[in-house]
Symmetry: C2
Subunit: 264 residues, 2 copies
Amino acid sequence: MSRILVFGNEKGGAGKSTMAMHVTSALLHSGASVGIMDLDMRQISLKRFFENREAFAASHKVDLPMARIGEIAAFEDITSPGWEKPAFESVLTGLQAQCDYVVVDCPGALTPLSALAHAAADTLITPLNDSYIDFDLLARVDPETNAVKGPSIYSEMVWDARKNRALAGGKPIDWIVARNRLSSLNMHNKRKLGDALTDLSKRIGFRFAAGLSDRVVFRELFPQGLTLLDHKLVSEIPTKMSNVAARQEVRDLVLELKLPDLEL
Amino acid sequence: MSRILVFGNEKGGAGKSTMAMHVTSALLHSGASVGIMDLDMRQISLKRFFENREAFAASHKVDLPMARIGEIAAFEDITSPGWEKPAFESVLTGLQAQCDYVVVDCPGALTPLSALAHAAADTLITPLNDSYIDFDLLARVDPETNAVKGPSIYSEMVWDARKNRALAGGKPIDWIVARNRLSSLNMHNKRKLGDALTDLSKRIGFRFAAGLSDRVVFRELFPQGLTLLDHKLVSEIPTKMSNVAARQEVRDLVLELKLPDLEL
Ligand SMILES: Nc1ncnc2c1ncn2[C@@H]1O[C@H](COP(=O)(O)OP(=O)(O)OP(=O)(O)O)[C@@H](O)[C@H]1O
Ligand SMILES: Nc1ncnc2c1ncn2[C@@H]1O[C@H](COP(=O)(O)OP(=O)(O)OP(=O)(O)O)[C@@H](O)[C@H]1O
Ligand SMILES: [Mg+2]
Ligand SMILES: [Mg+2]
């Protein structure tokens, strides 16, 4: 049975597309088949990544593991309210029939497609920058005591999705918050945010993963549709020490997802 | 006549709210009166910043320069399509009557409020992460040659706004792309992006500013509603060397806006 991984965070630029690209890449390299659904109909970063990948593979005559791209736009009829639900379900069902995993990338906004994705998720991965601006969408925090004061708009949105899923008889969503763009500096801010995250995780039911550091290799290969995990197939990708550490971060993140039957 | 500064970029997390916070802070510290309009109705990071600032000023009994907060939500009637235009104009006119500057923070999405703001801008400031994922919303780039292939969704959106403004008889928008979250490393990626930016700026008519480095001081004071520019009024803000450099970056960014009559 195909497993649905949703990358969600209403906060813009938290790293949904970047993490989706790298987790998908890791799954493909493990030999699994992966379908992708890019729900950001204007930006389509994830879909663009795989288009770039096909162009690179063709022009460099190299065989790269590819994801199957779900085509939601084909169903788009914005004059017809409610077009999203049948379109979403139809594309998802099609991909589930053919792939071990379906990776869904959400926009940084509350949209009908994003809400459908959150209710359909087996695993929900929420990237989070090391910043109180990002944290503000998960929970309100007391600036003096660092105590969590209550849930905020994105936590509430996930709770709604969980409720809808339970009403529909689905198994509980495994919700993982993964820190992203971490720097090796800023220990004070990192620790404060870590404490608030630990507090919040107990209250609203998510677990958290170490996530990814801020590394240019996680973004400089986007125009070619490559990730550093393609280094054995593509000579253009440098093999420096920092890339070894970067690959380990991606690997650790995927292991943290605790996907059944995955052999990395 | 009040000048309207709009922080816009359809790309999420580029730094609109962070730059809006710091430019507003600089303007307030210069003695100017500033009104703010936060068009991100769910996230409201900029409005939240000033709410945190009021709470800090009250609890610490310190007199901090404050912006006037425009209340668009008061007009919000999402059952009534087209509610945005009269609401936007009403709030904007109110602030223009009382403030030297009106700072407008846009959401990371295409919305009616965001489109209205772009057409109303005297100065449009577009923050940009040093990343081809961000650049992809301005223009498509050839991965082999780094040549710009054509404008993308956000450039087209700005062009529409410029057209609407010209039709309405307004003066041309001064469009500035300001790089954000720059690191002192990654020279290769930085230079490639810089070349593509230079190429694009000539074609679609913007100028670019050095912008801000990635510094934790630009985000760690958010819960208290402070910026490092408040350091003379608030002892909690550390006075380290890196903060001197950070203040200079904010100052240089504001000077780059070339606002008439501004004495920093
Ligand atoms: N771990 C990382 N290391 C380096 N750069 C990163 C990392 N994660 C994200 N970025 C960069 O940060 C920016 C935001 O990331 P991304 O676009 O993946 O976020 P997003 O949540 O998908 O945004 P949106 O809400 O717009 O869809 C991009 O420029 C991306 O290249
Ligand atoms: N110059 C900077 N230095 C350090 N952190 C920064 C800087 N600029 C932005 N950030 C951080 O990056 C993240 C995104 O910034 P911000 O929220 O200001 O972007 P935005 O464009 O307003 O996003 P959205 O599209 O969600 O409105 C936040 O966590 C913020 O604290
Ligand atoms: Mg994205
Ligand atoms: Mg913002």
